[in-house]
Each structure stands twice: as C-alpha cells, then as structure tokens.
C-alpha cells in the first residue's frame, strides 16, 4: 500500500487540512488549511519562528503532525514515511553529502529507487542548473551558489510531485540571491513542478511566487497573489510585514458616497472603499502605502475627491537615488512615511517644510483597529537583518 505512493504518480493539488503541530506546550503550527494548486510556485512567508519551516517539514514527512491531514491529489500522505513520499526537499544550507561527489549526490535518489539510465538523468538535471562541468567535484570544493544549484538538481532529478525549498537562498549574498530568484522561477516554469518555498524575505516571496501565504505565530494571516496581498492587506501584520504601510487610527462616521466609507482621523475625514475595509467595527485603522501618497506644499489641495491630511511637517528626508523617503510628523504625534519618485519634476522638499498629504481613496485600505499599528513591523525588521 505504502509503496504505491511512489509508483502511482499521484497528481493534483497539495492540500493541508487543519494542520496542527505542537512541541510540548508550544503550538508551532496552529490549524493551518491551504491548497497549493498543481504546478504553482507557492511561497510561505513569515518571520522566524512563525511555523513556516515546521509546516514544510510536515509536508516532507520529517515532522509528524499533531492533528490534521496532508493530501496530494487524492492520496493521504499525512503519516507516510519521508522516503515513501513523492516529495523532495532543498534543505537550508543544502545538506549535500560531503562524502559523495556532485554526480553521486544527484544520483542518490535515483539509485535508491533503482531507476535505470541514472547517468542520463543526472546529466540532464545538472544541465538544467548549468553544473555539468562540476560533476566530479566534492561539495566542499563548490561555492555557496554552486552548492545551491546542486541541491536543486539533487531534488529535481527525482521528478517529485512537490518540491519543497527551505530558505534556499538564505546563505547567498544579495546579488547572487537576486540572480538565483530569477533562475529558480525559470526552472519552475520549465519543469512545471509544484514549488513550495519557505522564506522570511518578502521581496523574494513576491518576486517568485504566484501565491504567497503570510504566516504569523503558527497561523496563516492571508494568502493570495503578491499584488493582492500588497494592495489590500487584511491584517496589520501583513500590512507591515509585506512592504511598509502608514496606518492611521480613525473612527467611522456617517455619510459618504455609494461605496465609500468616511473615517474621521483626528478631526480630518478620509474616504475608504467599503470592499477594502476588513472590519465592521467603528474603530478603523486607515492604511495607505507610502509610495501612493503625494506631498503637497501646505495650502495646496490635491485634486477633488482625493484624500487629504493637512498639518504635516517634514521631519526627515533621505535620498535613496531612485526615490526620496520622507518622514512627515503629523499634528497628532504620528510619523507617516512618503516615498517620492525622483522623476525630475520639482525639487526636494526641505526638512521643516509644512506639507499636506494627498492620495486616491482607491489606494486606501481599512484594518481592524484593535491590534494597533506595530504588529509585524518589528518582525519585518528582524527578518531583514537575519
């Protein structure tokens, strides 16, 4: 029965249903349900300790779920031994066997399954990652980027139904990481295998994945295409972890147009599309991404119908080349962030200048006000520094 797992070549989606993993009293994964469509590039994104790696290890069979189930198509693989699952892993730090050369590392899985034409398949896999010339090297003689490619070839050569990648680019320097991101995406499109990629790097997740699931404290906060997650975050954690957000506490007031909710933010009213508001409570956190906000000299008004916050004063301006990041101190004591593209029109706004902030209501999102602004912000900073 169990042997059938490998030979039947089950196809279809990877489904996690109400998956729970406890280590003693600590709940690492808390009731996670997900469907990863066949052939998609799926990213599990979250800060360290959020349970993303534990989730991955349960899919690989390296960790036994406390509760819940894992299905691959129609097959239940919840408690199948790792060596009986049609799933392969690219481990963090690669875990290449140091006593075997590159060729034998890649051939390992094929030899265990007594598959014929090992040489042909290994060379094809090495060709895919452009490493055929290093077939007889030992892992210790390779650079980090080369080891990464070999680890990928070693997993892909087995043609798994699902490929799991556990922070595969974490050990590479920034430039190489960017290059490998594109390469991984290319390979995924080429082989058409479902990739489940675990990372704490939000940029990496957004660059590569079709679908991103943001995890926090063992739970999925939100999942969807990167543009959707970025444009309409559902929780403050997602708003702050995935890029930066300005979140202003406010209170719902009566009036407004057909689909726009007016919100009172410290005496100034802004509009929020009702389909982008995640709470029905009176307390609302009004959110807008820094690059969506325009800086206007005090006294000037944004076009009619735009949201507007007056009384700001530029507290800090940092020039980053392609854009300038302004920190604007608002009268109620909050600092809001504005990214202005350096397109050459108008000079930089000097520090100390009185300004008005304007943006389109469609770029506004509303979050539950209870949780407060900082959720996820610290997590993102730590994740970046790691």
């Amino acid at each position: 029965m169990a042997g059938a797992l490998l030979s039947d070549h089950p196809t279809g989606d990877l489904r996690l249903d109400r998956l729970v993993k406890r280590f003693g009293a600590f709940v690492a994964v808390d009731d996670v349900s997900l469907t990863v469509p066949k052939g998609s590039f799926f990213a599990l994104l979250g800060p360290s300790g959020c349970g993303k790696t534990t989730t991955l290890r349960m899919i690989a069979g390296l960790e036994e779920p406390t509760a819940g189930s894992i299905h691959l198509g129609t097959l239940d693989i919840t408690s199948a031994k790792p060596y009986r699952r049609p799933v392969n892993t690219v481990f963090q730090n690669y875990a290449l066997f140091p006593h075997l050369d590159v060729f034998e590392n890649v051939a390992f899985g094929l030899r265990r399954r007594r598959i014929s034409r090992v040489r042909e398949q290994v060379m094809a896999a090495l060709d895919l990652v452009e490493m055929t010339h290093l077939a007889r090297r030992r892992p210790a003689q390779l650079s980090g980027g080369q080891q990464q490619r070999i680890a990928l070839a070693r997993a892909l050569v087995n043609q798994p139904r699902v490929l799991l990648l556990d922070e595969p680019l974490g050990a590479l320097d920034l430039k190489l990481r960017r290059q490998m991101q594109l390469e991984l995406k290319r390979i995924q499109v080429e082989v058409g295998i479902t990739f489940v990629h675990v990372t704490h790097d939000q940029e990496e997740a957004m660059t590569m994945a079709d679908t991103v699931a943001v995890m926090n404290q063992g739970r999925i906060e939100q999942f969807g295409p990167p543009t959707e997650l970025y444009g309409a975050p559902r929780t403050t954690f997602v708003a702050n972890f995935l890029g930066q957000s300005n979140l202003v506490p406010g209170r719902r007031v009566s009036g407004g147009g057909s689909h726009l909710i007016p919100v009172d933010c410290n005496g100034q009213t802004v509009l929020l599309p009702d389909d982008r508001c995640m709470t029905s409570a009176d307390q609302v956190l009004v959110g807008v991404r820094p690059e969506k906000v325009h800086l206007l000299p005090a006294g000037m008004n944004p076009p009619t119908g735009h949201n507007r916050l007056v009384g700001g004063r530029v507290a800090d301006a940092s020039f980053t080349g392609v854009s300038t990041q302004y920190l604007v101190a608002m009268p109620w004591g909050q600092d809001l962030t504005v990214f202005a593209q350096n397109v050459g029109r108008g000079g930089p706004v000097p520090v100390g200048a009185a300004v008005t902030l304007g943006w389109e209501p469609e770029h506004t999102f509303g979050l539950e006000g209870e949780t407060g602004t900082p959720a996820g912000r610290d997590a993102r900073v730590t994740a970046r520094m790691r």
Binding site: G61, L62, K81, P82, Y83, N93, F97, P98, R113
Partner: protein, 305 residues
C-alpha cells in the same frame, strides 16, 4: 565640494610599500617546535636506536648471563620469527577479534550518545571514561574474579548448559579477548562518538528525503561519514591490544594464550635475553606499522571532510 576637488588633485593615494622580502624569517616556529623535538629525540629516537642495536647483539661466548656483544647478526630476526611466529599470529588474532568486538559494542553506544541521548549525553560520556579512574591492572584482576569459579558468570553459564559442568572461563582465549575488548572499549567509543556527534542531522534527513529507508541511510550516509571515527577507534584499540601482555598474563595464564607481549616480557625480565626481546619488539613495531599503513590507505579517510 572642496573635499572632492582636493582628493582629485591629490591623485591616487600611494599604496603602502610592500613588506621587504629581505626581512629575517621569524625563528618563533622553530623555537616552539624545540621542546617537542627534544622530547622525541631523547625518548623516542635514541631508545629506538639503542633497541635496534641491541637486537643485533649475540651472547659473549663463555660470558655471564646477560652479557652481550655487538656482532650485527641480522639472522637474529630470522631465528625469532622461526621461534615465535605462533605468538605473533595469536597476538594479531586476539587484537583483531577484540577490535571487531569493541567496534560492534561501541558503535551503537556512541551512536546513541551522540544522536539520541540529549541531556544525558555528558553523564553517559563520563560513564564511558569512568573505568579509567581505576588502575588498568586492578580492573583486569577484577575480571578474573568475575569470570572465576566463585564469580557470577560461570554458574549461570553452567546452569544454562552453555559450558560443560567442569569447564571454566578463565585461563582461556575467550577470557583474554574479553579482557582486551573491555579494557580498550573507551578508546574505541570516544573517537566514534566524536565523529558521530559531528554529523549534521540534516544529512540523515536528506537521506530519508531521497528515498533511502533508515537502514540504507545508515549504510550510505551515516557509516561513511563516521569512517574517520571508525579508523581512529580501531587503531587506538588494535595497536595497544596487539602489544598487550597484562590481559594474557592475568586472564590467560597458560602457554596456549601467550601473546607476543608476554614473550617480550619473559625474554627481557626473566630469561635476560635482550637481543631476542629487542628483535621481537622491533618486529611487532614493523608489523603494526605495515598493517596500519595498509588499513588507513584502504579506508581512504583522507578523502573525507
């Protein structure tokens, strides 16, 4: 702006002068080597030379017992081999058996301590080393008691009819090999532990991920990665065991179990036949050297990381 201009007109900063190649070489490394070299010279090179010289001596005709003169008689070696090859073979056989037994006992033990023991690890390691707190000879004498007529082992074996009614365990090859195995077990366990402890659990997980069941993962991943420990442990057990005479003296005590160490001891101290004792010692050294060299080459540990 002013800074930029200044830097530009100033031209490139001159590179610091390369260190002169004529500097006198530091003598520190040689000074640091000196104590070790002196030690090796005084306590290894000189004795070996003396031993070699003694091995070529012959008895002074009509001289007193223990009186020998240098005659460069290389035939001493042929005589010794002719007379004692049985004990040589027996020594290597016993040492080999003890090494294999120690490996079979120590590997699971070291594996458990290194990979599974968790917080008990240090306590278990101390227990492995604990026998060293008692003297080697005392421990071997204790084994004579344990294996003797009054000890707990013999009555049990007799009761189970594993040995005939009148038979004993002491004064046999079994006792000597058991003693050797016991006495050198820590020398096997510790290097094995050191190499097993270093194996990243991810390699074992990777084996499972790549369709190897636990047994195959052990054979293809864990065992090859622990080879440095296996080689070190077997050498540390085999070499002293081959030259040991305490176990054969205390647990063997009969000609059938005499090892080469016993022959050297009796030739040297009782018969006062220095040249034969010296040739025996030299032959033992040479034989072990050849065996070890061949073994290490075959095991191919230098290829391991």
């Amino acid at each position: 702006m002013a800074f930029t201009t200044a830097a530009r007109t100033g031209g490139p900063v001159p590179a610091p002068a390369p260190p002169s190649s004529r500097l006198p070489r530091s003598r520190t490394p040689y000074l640091l080597l000196l104590p070790g070299l002196v030690w090796l010279g005084l306590f290894f090179a000189v004795p070996v030379a003396t031993l070699f010289s003694t091995s070529l001596q012959t008895r002074v005709p009509g001289g007193e017992i223990g009186e020998y003169t240098q005659t460069f008689r290389f035939a001493n070696y042929l005589d010794t081999i002719g007379e004692y090859h049985v004990q040589f073979v027996r020594s290597f056989l016993y040492a080999g058996l003890a090494t294999v037994l120690a490996l079979l006992i120590a590997y699971p033990l070291a594996y458990y301590i290194a990979q599974r023991a968790g917080r008990w690890r240090n306590i278990l390691l101390v227990l492995v080393v604990a026998p060293f707190y008692a003297s080697f000879i005392l421990r071997t004498i204790a084994w004579r008691q344990i294996l003797g007529e009054e000890g707990p082992i013999v009555p049990v074996l007799r009761f189970l009819h594993l040995i005939p009614a009148g038979a004993t365990v002491t004064a046999s090859a079994v006792a000597v090999v058991a003693g050797l195995t016991y006495n050198f077990l820590p020398f096997m366990t510790l290097p094995l532990y050191a190499s097993l402890e270093r194996i990243d659990p991810r390699f074992i997980e990777a084996g499972g991920d790549l369709y190897a069941n636990p047994f195959t993962t052990f054979r293809r991943v864990t065992l090859p990665l622990s080879m440095p420990g296996v080689v070190a442990g077997t050498l540390l057990t085999f070499i002293p065991a081959a030259g040991d005479y305490i176990n054969a003296t205390l647990l063997g005590r009969q000609p059938k179990t005499t090892m080469i160490g016993n022959v050297v001891e009796s030739r040297f101290l009782r018969v006062v036949d220095y040249p034969t004792a010296a040739t025996l010692s030299f032959l033992l050294m040479a034989a072990i050297l050849v065996l070890v060299f061949g073994y290490v080459r075959r095991a191919g540990t230098e290829e391991l990381v």
